[in-house]
């Protein structure tokens, strides 16, 4: 176990030389790549619910990489168990990882300081395709700068998926005539309001087919209650971050409505998660849920007799308009990325109309593009049975609707906390389930929002 070898090389010298080589290599390490190529681009995309949703991204990226001589490496990161949020948090802390990532709803605003501004890309895309849906702008634009690009893959809306046979039979509403698979309103569409909805909910509940509206702390619940609050003009915090709970007549009206509606929902909705409403529809127990077409797609596979009677229609309107729950994904580029220009070019390519349509078509219409001008892809008119069932899934001009994100227009850094803590469903639950008065529940809501605002 002699330390010094016969050739005079000491262990210390070997270590010193080795450390020198390592240090020189690390400090001077440039992005080495073959001559004439654009290097390597490491992408972390959301792992799509629809398996072929990943395939199309893989194909589009490969095509772009080949054309631009960039090696595109893709990881698909699942949102199951919040793996994507953990990945984002870890990469943000370590300032290393992928060049670009899929960011769920609130993450661009949360990580704005670490994201490369993409005003140039968005400027070109908006110039070509027109306005971005307002909710995407609210979430993706921080201090008047686009910090991420609203993605096609993974972005969803949550209009009403209705069992038209049950609604006709028990509530006397011909929903297909009201909202046909055409770019026009049918007879009675103007009466599709929250008041009509309440009456229908009562009748279907009495018939044993209660509407499946979750009231727990998961996104389906928070998004729908948020859209309903918006349609009553009820907000709990304004755009400047001022709490607007006290003496807010619109908020009180919206909460009173939700309390009334809750009486006609299944009594276990307080414990429902995002899959419970899907199961309620697929099992044939529910006449209506608010969801993307995924519930219908599963029913098509598992319960075709149910899916054949499903029809997607816009969310009912309230006194202040019609708002559709919107849950987008964004594509963002870390400011510590070493290949920002390639990342921007790839994301611009994926956002172009042909590529966006390919993504939406492959996901059977699930993915919603951020540009309102793209809400006319053929897939929504042809998907079935029944053919046209998801025609009204994206917002069409005749819907007179706009996208909604719960707790908007509050500053995103506060809204995300209120959203995650599901303050809007909990305030209703405290009244209906906890037996509190509306004033007591609103007092609690105000205290929670104050807690959220404190601490910078």
């Amino acid at each position: 176990m002699s330390i010094r070898a016969g050739n005079g090389m000491s262990r210390r010298n070997v270590l010193r030389s080795g450390a020198g080589v390592m240090a020189a290599g690390t400090l001077s390490a440039p992005m080495v790549h073959a001559q004439g190529t654009g290097g390597t681009l490491r992408c972390g995309f959301w792992d799509h619910w629809v398996p072929v949703g990943n395939d199309i991204l893989r194909r589009l990226c490969a095509e772009w990489g080949q054309a631009n001589r960039v090696e595109v490496q893709i990881d698909f990161i699942t949102s199951v168990g919040n793996q994507n949020l953990l990945t984002i948090a870890a990469q943000a802390q370590s300032r290393s990882g992928h060049d670009l990532l899929s960011f769920p709803t609130w993450e661009p605003a949360s990580k704005a300081e670490l994201l490369e501004p993409v005003d140039d890309v968005m400027g070109r895309l908006i110039g070509k395709y027109g306005a971005v849906t307002p909710a995407a702008e609210y979430l993706g634009k921080v201090n008047n700068r686009w910090v991420a690009i609203p993605a096609v893959s993974g972005t969803q809306m949550k209009p009403a998926c209705v069992r038209f046979d049950l609604l006709q039979q028990h509530a006397g509403i011909d929903i297909r005539a009201m909202w046909p698979a055409e770019n026009r309103r049918g007879p009675g569409a103007d009466t599709w309001t929250w008041d009509t909805f309440l009456t229908a909910a009562e009748k279907c509940h009495a018939a044993g087919f209660s509407f499946g509206i979750p009231m727990g702390a998961f996104t389906d619940a928070v998004d729908l209650v948020g859209a309903l609050f918006a349609s009553y003009g009820a907000s709990v915090m304004d755009a400047r971050g001022n709490i607007t709970v006290r003496n807010n007549a619109k908020l009180r009206t919206a909460i009173e409505y939700m309390v009334r509606l809750s009486r006609f929902l299944p009594n276990d909705v307080w414990a429902w998660d995002d899959a419970s409403n899907n199961r309620a529809l697929i099992s044939g127990r529910s006449a209506l849920i608010f969801n993307p077409p995924s519930a219908w797609a599963v029913a098509k596979r598992d319960a075709p007799q149910v899916s054949a009677n499903c029809w997607t229609v816009p969310v009912p309107a309230g006194p202040e308009g019609r708002f559709t729950p919107y849950l987008p994904y964004f594509w963002g580029i870390w400011n510590f990325s070493r290949n920002k220009s390639s990342a921007k070019a790839l994301l611009e390519h994926l956002s172009e109309r042909p590529q966006a349509e390919a993504q939406t078509t492959t996901s059977s219409g699930y993915d919603i593009p951020p540009f309102q001008s793209m809400n006319d892809f053929a897939i929504w008119a042809t998907e079935g049975p029944p053919v046209g069932t998801v025609f009204n899934y994206p917002i069409k001009p005749h819907h007179q609707s706009q996208t909604s994100v719960a707790f908007a227009p509050a500053p995103a850094e506060f809204a995300v906390q209120a959203y995650t803590l599901a303050l809007n469903t909990k305030v209703v639950a405290r009244i209906v389930q906890g037996g509190e008065s509306i004033d007591a529940a609103l007092g609690w809501l105000e205290r929670e929002l104050t807690t959220i605002k404190r601490g910078g």
Partner: protein, 312 residues
């Protein structure tokens, strides 16, 4: 190691004194012991001390992590109704679950102890099954049984004309459901520890007690329990720490609902820190467990030390 050191060529005369000193230092048993323990110490430092220190540092930052606000996050939490609900629930959950686990584990250990050795192995293996299944997986199974709409437990209750139980929809039922799953998962650990302790109690003590006419209760009270006191204390402390920090059962079963009434520190910290993007406040929530557990650990370990001294 010593041979290797001796085999090394002698250093130059000018460094002789220093080299001899260094050699003596290197040959000392404490130095060798330290060097051998160094990898483990580095692991502990890297995976325990550093994250803990970093967690404390994070808890002193503002939401954007751009400024130090001292104990501001703790002050904010103290003013939050939800946080106090979480603190209450964590205590109810941990204390009742550990108590039930200890009780059931003790009872099971006693039952097993009196089964003949051949059959005992089979029962011991079966009773350990809940403990060896990953809790996230087994909790998913429980979640299916407690499912709000399609609960298999309710299905069976309904067969016997018992009305359905809102397992996950009502606060106290949901709390009970979480405790039931935790007890189901953790009781085998207590059982195996207590079984080992029971086997180490000398039979002569029981024989002497039998000669003195001691009842079974007296044997339990004056022989078994005192002989097992240390293992009971340590097991309870260990389980208390693990149960207080439990996350997966709440996350899978209720996600903290209904109305935040089943959140425990870990699940609430994850919700506030990771999901809501307020990492410093999430760190503050999770660190709130430390002083509570430190107090428990102090009293339990003091009891163990005192009993050891008495026995010496």
């Amino acid at each position: 190691m010593a041979d290797g050191t001796l085999a090394a060529p002698r250093p130059a005369a000018i460094d002789g004194t220093r080299a001899n000193g260094m050699q003596r230092f290197a040959r000392r048993r404490s130095t060798i012991a330290f060097l051998m323990a160094l990898p483990l110490l580095l692991v502990v430092l890297g995976l325990v001390a550093y994250p803990a220190g970093y967690g404390i540092y994070l808890s002193t930052l503002n939401r954007r992590m751009t400024a130090n606000i001292g104990l501001g996050n703790y002050e904010i939490l103290f003013d939050s109704d939800t946080f106090w609900d979480v603190a209450f629930q964590s205590c109810v959950f941990a204390l009742s679950a550990v108590f039930l686990k200890a009780l059931i584990g003790f009872w099971l250990a006693h039952m097993l102890h009196h089964i003949p050795a051949k059959g005992q192995r089979k029962w011991r293996g079966m009773l350990l099954v809940p403990w060896v299944i990953p809790p996230a997986l087994s909790t998913l199974g429980w979640w299916w049984m407690f499912d709000p709409t399609y609960s298999s437990i309710n299905y069976i209750l309904n067969i016997f004309a018992v009305p359905s139980v809102p397992w996950l929809g009502e606060a106290w039922w949901a709390r009970s459901a979480i405790i039931i799953v935790n007890v189901w998962y953790g009781a085998p650990f207590f059982m195996i520890m207590y079984l080992a302790a029971l086997k180490s109690v000398p039979e002569q003590l029981y024989e002497a007690a039998a000669i003195d006419g001691a009842t079974s209760w007296q044997r339990l009270r004056y022989i078994t329990l005192p002989m097992m006191a240390n293992i009971i204390s340590i097991t309870v402390l260990f389980s208390l720490i693990v149960t207080f920090a439990n996350y997966d059962i709440v996350r899978v079963l209720t996600n903290g609902g209904p109305r935040d009434l089943t959140h425990v520190f870990a699940s609430y910290a994850f919700q506030v820190g990771i999901l809501a993007g307020n990492i410093p406040r999430g760190a503050a929530v999770s660190l709130f467990m430390v002083p509570m557990l430190a107090v428990c650990a102090f009293f339990v370990l003091r009891g163990v030390t005192r009993r050891n001294k008495e026995q010496m």
